[in-house]
Symmetry: C2
């Protein structure tokens, strides 16, 4: 049995989206056991009359919620009765609970993961690795997108190793093509961090390094994993999301501005719907925090039922692929 704990509060659509996404996962995976943390009454209301195997669900009552305005380190220390910290306690105290999914405060989740769950042997710092769709129908992973903002070249080398294992084990990408995010493709480009990281990546035998990548090529389909510091990774992912959303919004407004365009759009309704689905990051799950002792998946704050389901699926696949052992096998040597 794969046991995962789901924090049912914290997102914009919680607890409903969280609870229903959780039940969807229970109904798809027969060997999945879910703990749901949060206000029990509200969780039961969200479950309503849904059908599922009740023997594989346990609700853990937690009256409190950590919000984005809580200071992360204070929150994890003081809000012991919150849905997030109850979930952390559960995973910390039970060896057989191996995954943790939360849609709540990123800062609190990172702090709790580092301080209460811990790192795999050899890992300097766990890092977020979300995936985005590419224009040729594939996906690209980005590591890190905000877990660590002040880093060294060595962090980037570890992101490349962990991210490669992630893309291979969870998404089936053989020999992931790893690129370093930089301001130009030439080897000597960038700041000191990038210049030194380039050398480390070039000499790292556990990855398939293909060189620097400019951010405009992220969605081109030429790369499977991009490594970067958490600050620029955050900028990279949010700019992609933001530009796509704003453009689709503009397209919609422009279509509504003239009858002729509205008529044309009728012919293309299906296409526009597919376009919208394609750019909907909800369909690609959350960001896995790679390198923690147990799997941690952070969903987007606006996650809907599908997105929560996908996050649980990611945690499930992380566990079935035994990726943690593979990471430790390579990185434990770094500690020697």
């Amino acid at each position: 049995m794969i046991k995962i704990v789901l924090d049912c509060f914290g997102g914009d659509k919680s607890p409903e989206a969280n609870v229903l996404g959780g039940l969807d996962a229970l109904n798809l995976y027969d060997d999945l056991f879910l703990y749901m943390t949060g206000d029990e009454k509200r969780i039961r209301e969200a479950i309503g009359s849904s059908k599922f195997d009740e023997s594989r669900l346990e609700i853990v009552n937690a009256p409190d919620v950590i919000t984005c305005s809580d200071k992360p380190t204070d929150a994890i220390r003081l809000k012991k009765e919150s849905s997030m910290m109850k979930a952390v306690k559960l995973i910390r105290e039970n060896d057989d609970v191996t995954g943790f999914v939360s849609i709540g405060s990123t800062g609190a989740l990172v702090a709790a993961s580092l301080l209460r769950i811990g790192r795999l042997k050899g890992v300097i710092r766990p890092a977020f690795c979300p995936v985005l769709p590419t224009m040729n129908g594939g996906i690209v992973g980005i590591c890190d997108t905000g877990a660590n903002v002040d880093i060294t070249p060595e962090h980037l080398r570890q992101y490349a190793i962990m991210g490669s294992l992630y893309m291979k084990n969870v998404y089936g990408v053989e020999k992931p093509r790893v690129a370093l995010l930089n301001i130009g493709v030439e080897e000597e480009k960038g700041d000191e961090l990038r210049k030194q990281a380039y050398k480390l990546l070039e000499n790292e035998k556990n990855i398939n390094f293909v060189g620097n990548m400019e951010s405009r090529d992220l969605l081109s389909g030429s790369y499977d994993l991009v490594v970067c510091d958490g600050f620029s990774g955050n900028v990279l992912v949010k700019t992609t999301e933001g530009t796509a959303l704003q453009l689709l919004k503009k397209l919609k407004l422009d279509i509504c501005s003239k009858t002729k365009y509205k008529v044309g759009a009728l012919f293309m309704k299906r296409m526009f719907m597919e376009e919208k689905q394609f750019m909907n990051y909800q369909n690609y799950g959350g960001s896995v925090l790679i390198g923690t002792l147990k799997t941690v998946v952070k969903g987007h704050g606006s996650s809907d039922r599908t997105a929560v389901f996908k996050c649980i699926e990611q945690a499930y696949r992380m566990e079935t692929s035994k990726i943690s052992e593979q990471i430790e096998e390579i990185l434990a040597k770094d500690e020697i």
Copy 2:
């Protein structure tokens, strides 16, 4: 007379786009004098039988070209006969030549500007400030996008001051709303650089600071100027460009995939053309390098005739607005 020197080589479409864009500017502005540097024979060929006031153009022969594969510091030292270095020599040796437009190698241009043209009094480092269109029909400036990758909070404060003056003087934005690019909107977000910069910006009376901005809101129209280190600024701008281009490309491919969509697109032809124009960065000119003793404008490598014209227009407006004096008036105090 406003005297500007135009490097006619280096871009993908040079010298034709450069030369014709230059003549367009000459034909629009009666008080503009242009020097064109580069292979004289090829420049004359590009001019062909175009009509313009010949008394306001001088061609300065330069047989060599600096390419992107040349190492910047070597190139500016060794390629004295290049179109870029001939232009730099001209602006350096003639007080009345006040602007310099180039589509060539960014690295060489930055190095030449710093080492041969110099900075305004008080400016730590000049910074690039391109503008992008926002969804509500306005524009937003981004400073810096790659002139400096290793910086301090003080750099960001100066970018905010110089960028504000630029948005006001060249684009007529009254009291530009300045944001700091960060990974969250809350004050305490980000790395050490951002935390310290936030405090400096908050206390700077010469700007209208509105707080942190997440990259997904760049095109929202809520900001007039975003300040950032050159690395993440580069990521920000190139991701925006890349995502928009890739999405439009995908839309085109999808339309071509079904007859029904093709029919619909016929009704919307004009709209799609406008959409394409809207996202075409060529229409927004180049990146002004703010803070140099004389105006330097860098055009995108793929600049067409319109883009080159816009770059010259930016250099022209920089000079007519006397922005350099305003920058020195504020920043010269920093040297005390």
